[in-house]
């Protein structure tokens, strides 16, 4: 088993208590699996039903496979403008 780093921003960084999280990663894990892992961590109550996730700086679908070197980010509701 390896790990993957998840970048956190804004309200999610505050809720989880840091700018990054290290999450265990099994071969073949998907974005959806990663979100499920995140839900067991302290601070996860802030997450909506289907939080947006970016893989390598692009919004990803939940069935996309995650690799250990991917840049994963959990994207809170955006509020630019």
């Amino acid at each position: 088993m390896s790990t993957v780093t998840v970048l956190l921003f804004a309200s999610y960084a505050e809720s989880f208590g840091g700018a990054t999280l290290e999450i265990p990663l099994n071969s073949g894990d998907t974005v959806g699996d990663l979100v499920d892992s995140l839900r067991s961590l302290p601070g996860a109550s802030i997450l909506p039903d289907s939080p947006r996730v970016a893989v390598n700086q692009k919004f990803a679908s939940y069935d996309q496979t995650v690799h250990a070197r991917d840049e994963i980010a959990l994207i809170p509701p955006v509020a630019g403008g």
Partner: protein, 146 residues
């Protein structure tokens, strides 16, 4: 010229207009988003913008490419500022130039609407009563911002 940037300095809309002006254009449309003094009835003192900067710039590039293609625009500048902004300051500026006004108007509208949907930028509102809150448009009370 097509250019996007996340900036930490003040945005100068006049300078943006000057940089895309050309005698070949008959229209320059500028949208400027500014920091308003109230939000859902609460007095606002400042807004702190933050971003996932590398992805925000990538998304902005994607949006302007779509807009350029859709509206036949070849001159388009987008700047979004991050950091703590005071009331009235410009948080975002979008300028589009075209021979005619309709594509220029439509382009700026498209870009701001897409920014609000998918560019990873967040804002924390600071209120005059000393409290603060992350803005979550998915939980908005129906009052549109900016």
């Amino acid at each position: 010229m097509i250019r996007v940037a996340i900036v930490t300095r003040a945005i100068d809309p006049a300078a943006i207009i000057a940089s895309i002006a050309s005698t070949g254009y008959g229209a320059i449309s500028l949208f400027a988003g500014t920091v308003r003094d109230t939000s859902d009835g609460r007095g606002v003192s400042a807004i702190d913008y933050s971003a996932y900067t590398s992805m925000a710039e990538a998304e902005l590039k994607q949006i302007v490419a779509e807009a350029a293609d859709r509206f036949g625009i070849t001159s388009l500048i987008v700047e979004h500022r991050i950091g703590v902004l005071s009331l009235g300051e410009t948080s975002v500026a979008i300028a589009a130039a075209h021979a005619h006004r309709a594509p220029a108007f439509d382009c700026t509208r498209y870009v701001i609407e897409e920014i609000k949907k998918r560019v990873p930028i967040w804002k924390m509102e600071h209120y005059i009563d000393g409290t603060r809150e992350w803005v979550d448009p998915t939980k908005a009370s129906g009052v549109a911002s900016a």
